[in-house]
């Protein structure tokens, strides 16, 4: 009967699964190896530290985005919310460490919550809801900063700055924050009921409802999470920059989506990993770093090269997946 068939398939499936999962990782290893050989400064400890630090902010946002995308949604508001989070943290830092940290988390979490409620309760498309909150968060940021005229500074000696600037073995704290969140995120996704609900919601929403999955609640939670994490990334950035810079985060949502997809998460939902996202962040940051290492590249060519790289990575991945 089916025995022969089903016995043969798992090994095949397992082998392709390994390749699919590792597609981005293979690309990353290759990129790093080549860069290391071609550009002598690429492998310097300083460069690697900076690379990791720059990646950590994006990673924090992208982890939230991973959850959102697995539910079949998308969150375009993270770039604005990230900037808002930074401004709020800087403003809050005058009232001490706790306020500086809590304020962006709460406000950005609230924006995420509203996104989630609108998406889950009213059946509006996530793309458009979060596009609106992208505008809203920017607007709010401009209100707080008097149309961008005020940039709130964080005193250099405050404990909050330490959160962004402090290091262990030269590696900045944000790297560790991102790492912890990645591990936690992976665990939540794969080892908790909530994680299973996330997969089910994105995999087959109608069925998930019939299976008793709290689809609406799950959606509300992932968008809240995404907003909160974007706020946290903003707060970390503010601590790092020692000020609530207003002009950051424009277009960051596209970076976040790109790394999540490069990491093998399906934009249509139902499948994805946090580890893949972290690898995706690594890839994008290495690409940027390499463009910098080339040094002589005309600034107009830089985006052409980024675009081509992005294309190569997704096409490669797609081919591996076949």
């Amino acid at each position: 009967m089916t025995a022969t068939l089903t016995k043969a398939t798992p090994t095949m499936a397992a082998r392709t699964k390994v390749l699919q999962r590792q597609g981005a990782a293979v690309a990353l290893v290759l990129m790093v190896a080549v860069s290391w050989l071609v550009f002598p400064r690429f492998g310097s400890l300083d460069n690697l530290r900076d690379l990791a630090l720059q990646g950590s902010f994006l990673a924090v946002i992208a982890i939230g985005m991973t959850f959102v995308i697995i539910t079949g949604g998308i969150d375009l508001s993270v770039g604005s919310v990230y900037a808002l989070g930074g401004v709020l943290a800087a403003w809050g830092s005058q009232y001490g460490f706790l306020v500086a940290l809590a304020l962006p988390l709460v406000v950005c979490g609230l924006i995420g919550l509203i996104n989630g409620l609108l998406i889950a309760r009213t059946n509006m498309a996530p793309f458009i809801v979060t596009l609106a909150s992208l505008l809203f968060a920017r607007g709010l940021l401009l209100v707080i900063t008097d149309e961008g005229a005020n940039t709130y500074q964080i005193p250099a000696d405050s404990a909050f700055v330490e959160l962004g600037r402090g290091t262990v073995f030269g590696f900045g704290y944000p790297i560790f924050v991102a790492a912890v969140l990645a591990v936690l995120g992976g665990m939540v996704l794969n080892r908790t009921n909530f994680g299973q609900n996330v997969f089910a919601t994105g995999g087959a929403e109608q069925s998930a409802v019939l299976l008793g999955v709290p689809v609406a609640k799950t959606k509300v939670l992932v968008y809240t999470m995404s907003g909160t994490l974007a706020g946290l990334a903003g707060a970390l950035t503010a601590a790092y920059l020692q000020s609530g810079v207003t002009v950051i985060g424009v277009g960051l949502e596209l970076d976040a989506i790109a790394v999540v997809v490069i990491g093998g998460t399906l934009l249509t939902g139902g499948m994805g990993t946090v580890l893949g996202t972290v690898i995706g962040v690594g890839l994008i940051k290495v690409i940027q770093n390499v463009i910098n290492q080339i040094g002589t590249l005309d600034s107009n060519y830089q985006s052409v090269v980024s675009g081509v790289f992005l294309l190569i990575v997704v096409v490669l991945q797609r081919i591996l997946r076949r």
């Binding site: 089916t2 089903t6 398939t9 798992p10 080892r191 009921n193 089910a200 008793g212």
Partner: protein, 503 residues
């Protein structure tokens, strides 16, 4: 079978009405489910069975009426409603995963439990692989296992056997029996009379959303049940007689379709089928034996490693488009994901494949479309409020008819039918079968895949039996008996002929 019927209702429905945008799916329905009984819910396609179930389980809120539930309900819905991208074990235990002492999901135990559980249903697939890689029938069994394992007081099954083949039907009926012995009440929806009479105690008949009969099943003669469902007198039905499905067709000598050595690893391996115009060839086999793959390979929807397809002696390029142009059409097995375009109207779904023919210079002609659509709605008795109704709003059986119409209006020379009567009510089924006959008589070459052995035996002139992706034998003439087929399908299941003899 039923030992005692305790008379405390687990579900009581009074005066329920449910309307969807103009369609009254349920009208003032009363319904009572007694503890421990197996209650058949029958009716034509679109009678409101699935809707009643969704009202019972709270998916739909009724417009009027009262529902009293006493106990936990677990449901297997009509279409497989699991998550294809998640693993089999994750699907089985979604919402009640085994935890370790840190409160995290214990994946090893989940897989072990799942494998153990499924073995009881005769499924040995890898439980950590995505559910979507399982055959539809296997998925149906997983859904069954999940529903049963939920420890419910009531289990509702909406056409659970529609994608199962005989052996699995037996497994399922065995499970139903076991549940029954444990005192669990069951609502059982099916269009297959044999099953109903084998296991059910009571019956409720819905017609056009109205409960036209509730009562013990055993005392109700089949013909009367059918007459209740169709709303026609017993006499009328008797006169009409059983369908003449399966009369011998006059086939030409030269095959119009010749598929040779079709191979697509690991699913099919050198399958060859030839069909002559006017001939109905049945494809028999177990779940996963490669019947669907064979059909898909013929029409070019499956990448193949080897093999050729000839139509009237000319090779056909390996794309669906080319195959369609050459005159091959295929009715897909899974109408939800491979058949209907849910957003589009019934009209648009019907004319979809024939659109280029109904257009001039790429501009469509509405009047030509309307004419064709009208013809087919009448001919197949598709129940719609208007041809402009969204196809997603139709009942399962009516959707199936829409798809049949889609293929018929392309005027194909070769028709591949993968489970054409799946989920179709008795009346419509006879019609579809008659239609197949008629088409064959008109000179069409038909490949018929069905899980219902009787349908194959009656309808086909010749049977090709598949086993593990290869042709295990061909049966013709006198050999077209249940015993012969079962023997050819697989040696291990010959004992199923015992069941066969029970009816």
């Amino acid at each position: 079978m039923p030992t005692e019927i305790p008379s405390s209702p687990v579900i009581e429905v009074a005066g329920v009405t449910k309307t969807f945008a103009g369609v009254q799916a349920l009208r003032d329905v009363d319904f009572t489910l007694q503890r421990g009984e197996i209650h058949a819910l029958v009716g034509e396609n679109g009678a409101g069975k699935s809707t009643l179930i969704k009202v019972l389980t709270g998916i739909h809120t009724p417009d009027a009426g009262r529902i009293t539930r006493d106990g936990h309900i677990s449901t297997i819905y009509q279409e497989v409603n699991l998550v294809p991208l998640m693993s089999v074990s994750a699907n089985l235990f979604l919402g009640r995963e085994p935890r370790n002492r840190f409160g995290l999901i214990d994946r090893a135990r989940r897989d072990a439990d799942a494998a153990e559980l499924l073995r009881g249903y005769g499924i040995t697939a890898d439980v950590s692989s995505p559910l979507g890689t399982l055959a539809v029938g296997e998925q149906q069994m997983v859904a069954l296992a999940r529903a049963v394992a939920a420890e419910a007081d009531v289990v509702i099954m909406d056409e659970p056997t529609s994608s199962l083949e005989p052996r699995e039907v037996e497994t399922l009926l065995g499970v139903v029996q076991k549940l029954h012995e444990e005192g669990i009440a069951i609502i059982y929806v099916s269009h297959r009379m044999d099953e109903l009479y084998r296991i059910c105690d009571t019956v409720t008949v819905l017609r056009d959303g109205v409960n036209v009969h509730s009562g013990p099943l055993k005392e109700l003669p089949r013909i009367e049940l059918v007459s209740l469902m169709l709303g026609r007198s017993v006499k009328e039905i008797e006169n009409h007689g059983t369908t003449a499905f399966g009369e011998d067709h006059h086939a030409d000598a030269e095959p119009v379709l010749e598929a040779t050595g079709l191979t697509s690893k690991p699913r099919i391996n050198g399958v060859s089928v030839a069909i002559r115009p006017g001939e109905v060839v049945g494809l028999a086999g177990l779940l996963g034996s490669g019947r669907t793959e064979t059909a898909k390979a013929i029409i070019g929807a499956l990448p193949i490693d080897g093999g050729t397809v000839l139509v009237a002696g000319t090779p056909v390029p390996r794309t669906v488009k080319a195959a369609t142009r050459a005159g091959i059409s295929m009715l897909a097995e899974d109408r939800k994901t491979e058949g209907i375009i849910p957003n589009l109207s019934v009209r648009e779904n019907i004319v979809l494949a024939a659109l280029p023919r109904l257009s001039r210079f790429g501009v469509t002609s509405r009047s030509k479309q309307d004419r064709i659509v009208d013809t087919f709605i009448k001919r197949l008795r598709i129940k719609v409020s208007s041809p402009e109704q969204k196809v997603a709003e139709l009942s399962g059986g009516n959707q199936q008819k829409v798809l049949l119409a889609r293929w018929l209006c392309t005027e194909p020379r070769i028709l591949l039918l993968d489970e054409p009567t799946r989920g179709i009510d008795v009346g419509a089924k006879a019609e579809v079968q008659a239609l197949i006959d008629e088409l064959a008589r008109e000179g069409l070459a038909v490949l018929l895949i069905s899980s219902e052995l009787d349908e194959l035996l009656d309808g086909a002139d010749r049977l090709v039996v598949l086993r593990d992706g290869s042709v295990a034998g061909e049966l013709e003439g006198d050999q077209l008996t249940r015993e012969h087929v079962l023997k050819a399908i697989a040696a291990e299941v010959t004992d199923d002929s015992d069941h066969a003899s029970t009816h």
